[in-house]
Amino acid sequence: MNGPGPNETAMRKAEPRAERADGAPSAPPGRSTGEVLLAVENVSLRFGGVKAISDVSFDIRKGEVRAIIGPNGAGKTSMLNVINGFYHPQDGRITFKGETRSKMRPSVAAAQGIARTFQNVALFKGMTTLDNIMTGRALKMRRGFFWQLWRHGPAMAEEVEHRKFVEEIIDFLDIEAVRKVPVGKLPYGLQKRVELGRALAMEPELLLLDEPMAGMNLEEKEDMCRFILDVNNEFGTTVALIEHDMGVVMDLSDRVVVLEYGRKIADGTPDEVKRDQKVIDAYLGVAH
């Protein structure tokens, strides 16, 4: 694969971002002036006595890369779980694409265009890479049960059509070689990549990534960053990212929200956050 990114036209009808049209280097922070895609207002979440999230508000704008950072157990993953409906917060509201709700069913969130990857890889272990990514297309496939009985004909046509799309993702993520390997056997790094592929297959508007680069070496991190940026740039997918590697966070994100003990302690551009004393105390340790 020589050029970056997959075949745009097939993957999404969205316009390539303006900055990228001329092939100029990707734009500096500040792109995220778009409208608010998702707003979290005063969300609180408790598990028995444990306050995982207390009264957190922030927003994610269309097209930006939004990082969520914070010490271990700060409630980052829980936040993502709230956003895509797996946890139901006791208080607060969430507005996605203009629709406000206090809780939601995960499958509805998925249908509205929220996809995610998981901190502890949550792939379908017994299935191949290809099948894993194909499940990401589940929502887009229309042929019902009775078509499926007779796999040839329309069901097959549909299958082939989606397979094309999935092959492009596979191509994009550079995992052709393991297409037919059960993912349980893949090394961790590749699993993370497959998981990203599965999320991408959903053609999400909002992509939630939970520590996508944990356990990767530098080279792989670079690849992963590239994928994330490409997805963000080429298809305008909004990304929310949890990551502990500050290098990655600082380089990739447009804005950063910092949680500690379930509370928001900072919110701003990477540079602002990096200099925030509270953040340094709570999380970074030494200034980076």
Binding site: T77, F86, Q119, N120, A122
Partner: protein, 318 residues
């Protein structure tokens, strides 16, 4: 209307009309509950300590009782036979660990579950080969288990308590108490629970699965022996007893697969529930509902608490 009356009013009228029968029904329910619990306890032990759903527990009950009676038939004095049976159960535990569990470490639950089926088959064949398929009478007298009935006049009638049932209740309570303590805070107890959670991680911290497994299978064997003696005294020692072991399953899930007290409470609920159900409501549909009532009681509880009454919460986190 009559149907509603028959379901919602009449049984209670009957209960009030003959309170001695109600008490008797409750007692009978409690006793069979205790006896179910004795079987369920064996399941719990092994499940809690290794995550293995040991289907062979039922046949272990038969096997233990059969060994005891079979040895006695061959002329071994009762208490020596008892001691020998304990030894046999130990050998069985070691054998199971060597041949079945050790090679299957870290396999999915269902694989181990089926392996215990294999064990069941093996034990059936082995037991019948050695002791024959003839039903045998339990040697209750020789073991100085009490026989006879205590009739207590009460509530304008009479309630009869079998002495052997009273003994069963006492033995079961002692076993439960002992095991509960064992699991609670001892070092081994903690290790047992760790093994149930993850074989791999338990190995990595140096817990010897082999040793643990021998311990719990042996303990389960002893529980099986107790259950076998009690059930055998109730009817006879034969392979048909294996069927009754199925009844331990709803008891088990109702109480929670991992809970020792759960096994007892579950047993009592199922025992009493199905007795009352069969006795007061069964006739409405022609009786025999005992065959499935227990499962529906368990199902109803599970719908509210999917991990059973006292089971460990099923962790869902991502």
């Amino acid at each position: 209307m009559t149907i509603l009356y028959a379901i919602f009013v009449d049984p209670f009228v009957q209960m009030a009309g003959a309170p001695d029968l109600l008490v008797q029904a409750l007692w009978d329910g409690l006793v069979s509950g205790v006896l179910y619990a004795l079987i369920a306890l064996g399941f719990v032990l092994i499940f809690k300590a290794s995550g293995v759903f040991n289907f062979a527990q039922g046949i272990m009950v038969v096997f233990a009782a059969l060994t005891l009676v079979g040895l006695h038939e061959k002329g071994v004095p009762a208490f020596l036979a008892l001691a020998l049976t304990v030894a046999v159960m130990f050998v069985l535990a070691v054998g199971v660990e060597r041949v079945v569990l050790r090679p299957l470490v870290n396999q999915p639950d269902i694989i181990l579950f089926i392996a215990t089926f294999g064990l069941t088959y093996f034990l059936i064949g082995f037991g019948e080969l050695i002791f024959g398929g003839n039903p045998k009478a339990m040697i209750t007298d020789q073991l100085f288990l009490p026989r006879g009935v205590v009739d207590v006049p009460m509530l304008g009638g009479m309630v009869s308590f079998q002495k052997i049932d009273i003994a069963a209740a006492i033995i079961a309570s002692l076993m439960v108490a002992g095991l509960a303590v064992f699991f609670q805070n001892t070092r081994i107890g903690r290790a047992l629970r760790a093994v149930a959670d993850s074989h791999k991680a338990a190995l990595s911290v140096g817990i010897s699965l082999n040793q643990i497994w021998v311990i719990v299978w042996f303990a389960a064997g002893l529980v099986a022996l107790a259950a076998g003696i009690m059930w055998g005294a109730r009817s006879e020692v034969s392979f048909a007893l294996e069927i009754i072991a199925l009844k331990a399953l709803p008891v088990l899930v109702l109480g929670g697969l991992t809970s020792v007290p759960g096994a007892i409470i579950g047993g009592l609920i199922i025992g009493v529930g199905e007795k009352l159900g069969e006795f007061y409501w069964g006739p409405l549909v022609g009786g025999g509902i005992e065959s499935w009532l227990a499962y529906f009681i368990a199902l109803a509880v599970l719908l509210v608490r999917p991990q059973g009454l006292f089971g460990e919460k099923i962790i869902e986190r991502i």
